[in-house]
Amino acid sequence: MKKFLGIDVGSVSTDIAIIDEKGNIIIGLYLRTAGDPIKAVKDGFFKIKSQFGSDLKIDGVGVTGSARFLIGAVVGADVIKNEITAHAVAGLHYNPKVQTIIEIGGQDSKIIIIRDGIVVDFAMNSVCAAGTGSFLDHQAQRLGIPIEEFGDVALRAQKPVRIAGRCTVFAESDMIHKQQLGHKREDILFGLCEALVRNYLSNVGRGKEILPPILFQGGVAANKGIKVAFERALGTEIIVPPYFSLMGAIGAGLLAQEANIRKSNFKGFDIVDQDITTRGFECKGCSNLCEITNIFIEGKLVARLGGRCGKWEDLEYNPSL
């Protein structure tokens, strides 16, 4: 059975999945990026290595997420794709009839509209935090509730409180106000879920025809309160796939499989034991002043990223600066 590795490196989390050629998950890992995507990937590889040994053969590697170019170069990716395509591919694999994908992660949120198995429209929001996981994290912390329990507590709400505000700052101040008025914690929590859903639908979802089947993907899908709030707002069932938080990674793996690679570029799981460093500099070759990142493995230059022109892609190119 062939095996494919998918990696989704976002600013908050790094997800890794190994799938077989039917798309079944062999292993799925969820790690914190914590500002160092290379370390996150290494941690993940370490776990894989200790579970399967280092000769686990991989037949193709796909990388997605905001640090996809960096990690793609480090691990030797065969396919490097944007998150929207990756999520769509994974959603379609899980449910070929899907018409809408709602994806809410730690730093951004997306909506993908699918008809007859192809993406026909999408939107993405990365500016406003009010529609993302970090907003919930923050509020949970403020209310002293572990984020894992957020959803369950919220579902106990009897009289959800309406939290006003289209942006984090307003929502937060309104929440504090409601807290002072003596509203129950669960009512406030469900109110927050509804506020997030409202924000999502009026921002990311604006003008989109949201038809079922609807998949809810991304880390925030763990929160049952949000799922229910979506169901109430849309008046239809929301499906949360079992590997909701790994869908980006799964999609990347599936894309690697679809690409039909004869021989993978994968550098192997042994890179965990290698010294990987990056060194950046500003190219003064022209007014673009590109930030070039040199990637070294064991002191050897293996890739360069960031130049708008092609000149740094040739690794031999090394003017004595």
Binding site: K81, N82, E83, I84, T85, I118, V119, M124, S287
Partner: protein, 361 residues
């Protein structure tokens, strides 16, 4: 007098050419960088539109290089563009820069306009004026042609940056060209070089994307994250709704052509009256691309730009009515390259899949 000007895209070559030919010492603003943007953002009012901020940064960087006079257009309403010169003048004054402005204000009466023109032309006689303008105009046409051809060549580049290298060389020569024949010769040599790169048989199979929106953002490579280049490198044929020539024809009454209003007419069912900037034209251009069978349209809109916000409001309907996919990219100083790249890539993935399916059926 050391004169500078608001640069946008490659228009600088033509602007410099005619200022020089009128005998001015020109201090071109250094090419825009993130520093330019941060300077502009720092000193401009927060809600000012992006082009105002960037050009303000351009002026300050040119002043640092010794410029003491700024040439600018003014009075073109009804969007904020008409106030740019005034707003920027006050900001520079408050910052303590002692700068002369030559504002070609089109709303301030002929006498004032004439006085400004006299300053620009350095009191040259009419024959000289005509000659200089003619050459500058020829350069505008050449710059546009270079850009248009490059869009067809980039998807077939043999190595990354090939087309840009050729353009850079061609621009340098164009800048030096001192007569019309020379300009035409440079252009035809450029055309030949590009012809070798373009794979004519495959052109029709490429995904085609039209670019519409506010003129500065559409034409200024720095501001729009070099969108044309990115699309080309992704194997897409990207055409603009307009180039520099069109903008001159739209905004300078002397060159104004009737076709412009004619071309805007299809937008009337959606936006009845002019809302300034490119608002109405954005709609008209989107419809045009749809009717020409393009696969998609990318709409570039500076954040807080009123005309484009109006356009954005009806684009959804236009997109449905004419069955064309539209991706709106709102651009401001906080726009990150990563977000833009992801959206563009996903948009193209989507259009490519659709196209493949259409061909298969």
């Amino acid at each position: 007098m050391k004169i500078t000007y608001p640069p946008f895209g490659d228009a600088r070559i033509a602007i410099e050419s005619f200022l020089r030919d009128f005998g001015h010492e020109v201090i071109p603003p250094p090419p825009s960088t993130n520093r330019t943007l941060s300077i502009g953002v720092k000193y401009a009012p927060e809600f000012a539109c992006l082009p105002l901020k960037i050009t303000l940064g351009n002026y300050i960087e040119a002043i640092e290089k010794g410029a003491d006079t700024i040439l600018m257009l003014g009075g073109i309403g009804p969007c904020r563009f008409g106030y740019y010169a005034e707003v920027q003048r006050r900001i520079l004054k408050d910052l303590g820069y002692d700068i002369d402005w030559i504002v070609l204000d089109l709303s301030n009466g002929w006498i004032n306009l004439f006085k400004s023109i006299e300053k620009v032309t350095n009191r040259s006689n009419i024959i000289k004026v005509m000659k200089v303008l003619r050459l500058a105009w020829e350069k505008v046409l050449a710059i546009d042609e270079i850009e248009k051809i490059s869009r067809r060549a980039r998807p077939f580049e043999r190595y990354k940056g090939e087309v840009d290298n050729i353009i850079r060389e061609t621009h340098k020569r164009l800048d030096q060209a001192n007569n019309i024949l020379k300009v035409r010769q440079i252009l035809s040599e450029y055309r030949e070089t590009m012809d070798e790169i373009i794979d004519k048989n495959s052109l029709k199979d490429l995904v085609k994307i039209g670019i519409v929106g506010e003129f500065y953002v559409v034409l200024d490579h720095f501001t729009n994250f070099e969108i044309a280049k990115r699309l080309g490198e992704l194997g897409v044929l990207a055409e603009n709704a307009f180039y520099i020539e069109d903008i001159v024809r739209i905004y300078l009454p002397l060159f104004r052509s009737k076709d412009i209003d004619e071309r805007t007419r299809v937008a009337l069912p959606y936006i009845r009256r002019s809302v300034g900037g490119e608002g109405q034209r954005t709609i008209a251009h989107t419809i045009e691309f749809a009717e020409r069978g393009f696969d998609g349209v990318i709409h570039l809109s500076p954040f807080t730009c009123m005309p484009e916000i109006v356009a954005d409001g009806v684009l959804e309907k236009v997109s449905k009515d004419y069955n064309i996919q539209v991706l709106t990219l709102s651009i401001d100083e906080q726009t990150g390259l990563a977000g833009i790249t992801t959206r563009i890539e996903a948009f193209i993935d989507m259009l490519k899949t659709k196209k493949r399916r259409r061909i298969a059926v």
